[in-house]
Amino acid sequence: MTAVDLPGARAGRTAAVTSAVWSALGTVRDPELDEPLTDLGFVSRAEVSRAGRAVVRLRLPTYFCAPNFAFLMVADAYDAVSAVPGVREADVALDDHFAADAINRGVAARAGFVASFEGEAVDELDSLRADFVRKAVLAGTDRVCRAVLAAGTDRERLTELTLGDAPESPDRERLRDRRRELGLPCADDDPLLVDPVSGSAVEPANLTRHLGFARLTRTSQEANSGVCRGMLHARYPHSEDREDTR
């Protein structure tokens, strides 16, 4: 490397780090919608300076979006961005939200939720997050089972199948990841259908109810996602808006 091409090389490195920051943000999910912040349009800005200072700005569909989920997203984004090689300092903040000051201060100070909302919260958000991962397991179960049924399997046989029997797909791996996060059985030879709390196999007698609830949970999650995307678009007209019916 010569002195002459150094600025170009540095610019290239900065671009690579910026791209890595976007990828890192792509691993951060809205805990309620179970979708990456980048897909939802919640990242309005992500830049890295030559000195390695990452500036990330997040935005949400409404001024009054629930502060607990907002906090999780900002904190998770901060952790993901800070861990990117080449980032020396992370400035991650939420804009246009009633609790933005408390959230941004708390995340920058790595203070945790209870300290950030002193007097207004008694617990950290782990159990809230886990509740929503359980919903993601149910929603994912509907997606994966539909693929199994479409491949010609009888509905009644679903309780006999294993996770590995389901056709290989991103949906199946996503379901496996969510089950793993909760400590639920997630190997190929574990049952396809498990109770999202206990992890035990779903009994044939409970099949209809389990599938009905899985479908309902997916509908709810996707309808929420639809409302959120529409609201974000109404609030920030330059953001993308489409009906995603994955």
């Binding site: 950290e124 509908t219 309808a223």
Partner: protein
């Protein structure tokens, strides 16, 4: 009334507002919240058809004439039910109060049902004022917004013992219809503010009351539906479902309607346009025209019949509120089939 293809629909819009969110009404020091609230509502309007969007200044404060026109001249509404939202912490004269609603209602006899509210944090004085409002305005329903801010409080729960006192009072006064609206901020903030388990709790304990969960518990439709299957006195308010999904997210609208019919059924769904977020005209017309698309993913769900749509658009709410429906707009009574060979009593 709305007529389409020879069918007549009696329309009860069970969720309407007459609000003032203009800057003149913002409480000094609370402007950002007052502004944030109405801009959030305005963004919801963005989910309706573009030709029905309003400029923000009209949306902040609209006239009585405009409301009467949009509901009754254009919107096919026979009777509209006011659902108040006080928000006095942010709006000097309140956002959409029982008093402002009642004043408008008195000028247009027979057009509105006036609901009021209670807030268990208002204690004994609140209880007396509640009883006065119920008697003065003849209220048969309340609208509860559990996430309303009051001082340092970020909301309340129907499980609070104070709330039970108010619900007992509702039973005593004949206030049978309890509309519940969940919002995003409730103490403690680490819990899910949209959790509907407090409604489950009181629906079990107060069997004489009807609990209408506004916007079908969105964003917790799944918890709401599951709860509603266990409580016979729980209903779904369709505000936001029709306004927010039917146009903007037609596929999810179909799925949500399918789920609501599946878990709750045709007798438990209550139409509400949520004016002035959305005008009723396009919602009523669109809902009558809508049906379940033929789609593999929706194959679990049956198409809606005309009779089911009539119930949802008005007859269900009319039943809850004892609204007299003209004879030609009712459903035909099912024929009484005399059992054969069984002696009468």
């Amino acid at each position: 009334m709305y007529t389409k293809d020879g069918e007549k629909y009696f329309v009860v819009d069970a969720h309407t507002h007459f609000w003032d969110a203009s800057p003149d009404n913002w409480v000094p020091g609370q402007e950002e919240y007052a502004k944030g609230w109405i801009e959030c509502f305005h963004a919801y309007q963005g989910l309706g058809p573009a030709e029905t969007h309003w400029p923000l200044d009209r949306f902040q404060k609209y006239s009585e004439e405009l409301m009467m026109h949009d509901l009754f001249d254009e919107g096919h509404v026979d009777i509209a039910i006011f659902q108040p939202t006080n928000l006095r912490q942010w709006y000097t004269n309140g956002f959409n109060t029982t008093e402002a609603n009642a004043e408008l209602s008195e000028r247009h006899p027979g057009k509105f049902v006036v609901n009021t509210y209670f807030d268990p944090r208002e204690g004994d004085a609140g209880m007396r004022a509640f009883e006065e409002r119920v008697k003065r305005y003849g209220c048969k329903g309340v609208k509860l917004y559990t996430a309303e801010w009051m001082g340092d409080s970020r909301g309340w729960s129907l499980k609070d013992p104070e709330a039970a006192r108010y619900l007992e009072k509702c039973q005593e006064l004949g206030v049978r219809n309890i509309h519940v609206h969940k919002g995003p901020t409730i103490w403690p903030l680490d819990k899910d503010a949209f959790d509907v388990s407090d409604i489950d709790h009181v629906a079990t304990n107060f069997q004489e009351l009807n609990f209408i969960v506004e916007h079908v518990g969105l964003p917790r439709i799944e918890d709401f539906c599951f709860m509603a299957t266990q409580e016979r006195n729980v209903y779904a308010g369709l505000a936001v479902v029709v306004g927010g999904l039917m146009h903007a997210r037609p596929k999810f609208f179909a799925k949500v309607m399918g789920e609501l019919m599946f878990w709750l059924g045709e007798d438990k769904l209550i139409f509400g346009a949520d004016y002035a977020i959305w005008e009723p005209k396009w919602q009523v017309e669109g809902f009558v025209d809508w049906n379940m698309p033929k789609d593999e993913e929706l194959s679990d769900f049956a198409p809606l019949t005309t009779a089911q749509k009539k119930k949802i658009l008005g007859l269900n709410a009319a039943r809850l509120y004892d609204i007299d429906v003209p004879a030609d707009l009712r459903l035909a009574e099912p024929p009484v089939v005399e059992p054969v060979g069984v002696p009468g009593p």
